[in-house]
Symmetry: none
Subunit: 191 residues, 4 copies
Amino acid sequence: MGMKKISKDELISTSGHLFRINGYHNTSISDIAAECGLSKASVYHYTPSKHALAEAAIKQLHQYFKENISAVVYQEHLSEYDRLVKFSDALEKFYTQREGGCLIGNLALEVTDIIPELEKLIKNYFTDWISAIAHLLKKKFGHDRAKQLAEDAVLQFQGAVMMRRLYKDVAPITRQSRKLIALLGDDSSVN
Amino acid sequence: MGMKKISKDELISTSGHLFRINGYHNTSISDIAAECGLSKASVYHYTPSKHALAEAAIKQLHQYFKENISAVVYQEHLSEYDRLVKFSDALEKFYTQREGGCLIGNLALEVTDIIPELEKLIKNYFTDWISAIAHLLKKKFGHDRAKQLAEDAVLQFQGAVMMRRLYKDVAPITRQSRKLIALLGDDSSVN
Amino acid sequence: MGMKKISKDELISTSGHLFRINGYHNTSISDIAAECGLSKASVYHYTPSKHALAEAAIKQLHQYFKENISAVVYQEHLSEYDRLVKFSDALEKFYTQREGGCLIGNLALEVTDIIPELEKLIKNYFTDWISAIAHLLKKKFGHDRAKQLAEDAVLQFQGAVMMRRLYKDVAPITRQSRKLIALLGDDSSVN
Amino acid sequence: MGMKKISKDELISTSGHLFRINGYHNTSISDIAAECGLSKASVYHYTPSKHALAEAAIKQLHQYFKENISAVVYQEHLSEYDRLVKFSDALEKFYTQREGGCLIGNLALEVTDIIPELEKLIKNYFTDWISAIAHLLKKKFGHDRAKQLAEDAVLQFQGAVMMRRLYKDVAPITRQSRKLIALLGDDSSVN
DNA sequence: TATGAATGAGGCTTCATTCAT
DNA sequence: GATGAATGAAGCCTCATTCAT
């Protein structure tokens, strides 16, 4: 009883996982503890509260997003189009792989009113996401329109992720990915 | 104490309202009772359980949707375009007026795993919605493509509604409405 | 299930009893429930919190004090001396009968820092007590000195009650009662 | 983390300090550890339990009392009166300086039932205190009356210390000190 | 129909304590 | 000696639900 069973990072990602799949309220500290092979009390060795766990999970995911998904966007040696493709693919893969939708989107709906501190974090995440896309669209569409298109792209992914959860079908996600890429594609028919 | 006469319908819509604004888990029978001017125990004269209340709220909203929003779609004496405009406007108004997002979308995320009976109901709702839109797009786009476009439209509204909740800005909703209409619009440029 | 097992007043006095005997922290809601023949959850049918129970117990005791102990003090048709005797006897009887000391004195030490709302209530109680005694001493000693003597009398009772708890001997209480009466007695030797 | 070397004595006096200010139940081992710059686990290198800490704190204070406060009482080369003045002054200073009342008095109320071993220790402390005072009063008042007066003096200090805690005013303490001295004062009038 | 009373189950959190390093 | 990790037990409180009136 002194050998680490898990790291704080693992606790947070496990919590995030459960929150995403089952929802915040529907995930008890007991569930988290069980999933981690810890006792309930031990969870509190790593975190002061369930709220804090949600907060940490959001931050962790945001960090992951920055490092593994949106980073390409700022690799200025690549063409905007290439960057958009890479970004979009990464996003698609990300949401295609994990069931249960988008942790942050889900938490946005479920706990924003209950844990006001999270609102800012959640907005930060989406704002970053929108900015990343807008950054690539700016040259072609101008600042304002790029912003709008980016916002729409994000909201489409969120909607797609919800549909995927409901219908167990990843097609909508793939489709939004293609629509995003098409924004910088030659021309033609995609809407 | 209250002696307020309320109808079952009012109870259900009040429940739906609270579920939408505060979430399912974050709305207690007590909250519902208080909002209706009833005692907690009295709520159980109208419904056998909280689950049932969620179920009823979904059905009620679905019904409302059919009667007040999607009905136009099948008024075959109007042009597809006119019907789409009316439908889209109704939808926009619907989501623009009520804060807290989409009851059914929210419930989809929060209670689908916990009350399996609801999954079918929720799917029915979205399927109806998709069908309604697809019905209008069929002639122009063909069955399959219409279905896809309709699904995308729905998912865009859902995403927009989430954004609106987060950023307190209805613009995204309005935008999705216009995009939907543009699908049958004369020419080009909207994506 | 539906027949009253206890009244709110009984719950409060039972709580007060246990707080006085065992202390606030050392009395659990479980203990209170058991003593009342209720389940833990049922306690919350009558009170919103343990804090509130302490608050209510203080108020209840204060009320009892006003109605049954300090009331005599203001029966202006009696001589000051007679009133002091009656008051002092009542006080002696009160503290002699119940083990565990003074609820309010105990709570003053244990929860004042933890439930700041209680501080005012506790002060109110002691201030009333002091005022009652001072009211009787005023004529003989003048306002300021009467106040001091009254404060000392109160503090002596509190100290006596603590000693009684420790040594299981009521003599100190009886002694303080006599000393208080002697303040308006003929003259002589009591200090 | 802290690596602060502290002695067992410091741990005990810090514990006593916290117990006095915040109460026994309201002071956690964590609090004590933090105040000492130790980790929670390290506290257990100095003491086997929280109970033992309370016990040690009482003994430590008792020892302090004997060495620094009551010692004068037995310096038979001084007059009783002079010794009483010195004793009383020391006591007044002692209780005036430290907020939170009397550790031992507080513990008497809060943990006597929960840690029966402490009862004897607490009685010992007060018995020593009473004996010290009685020792000085014996000649003038006779053994029995001296004992009573001493007990009353102690109980008055305890009451005063409680009042001081509640009203943040040291006057009552000072007053009891003067009353004690007056017992051997030349003449009359103090009660 | 309406509701006050009651409750089992469960949720979050704290805490004293142990133990391997 | 010092401490991070872990935990059983317990505490406060909420909640959906039942039932007698």
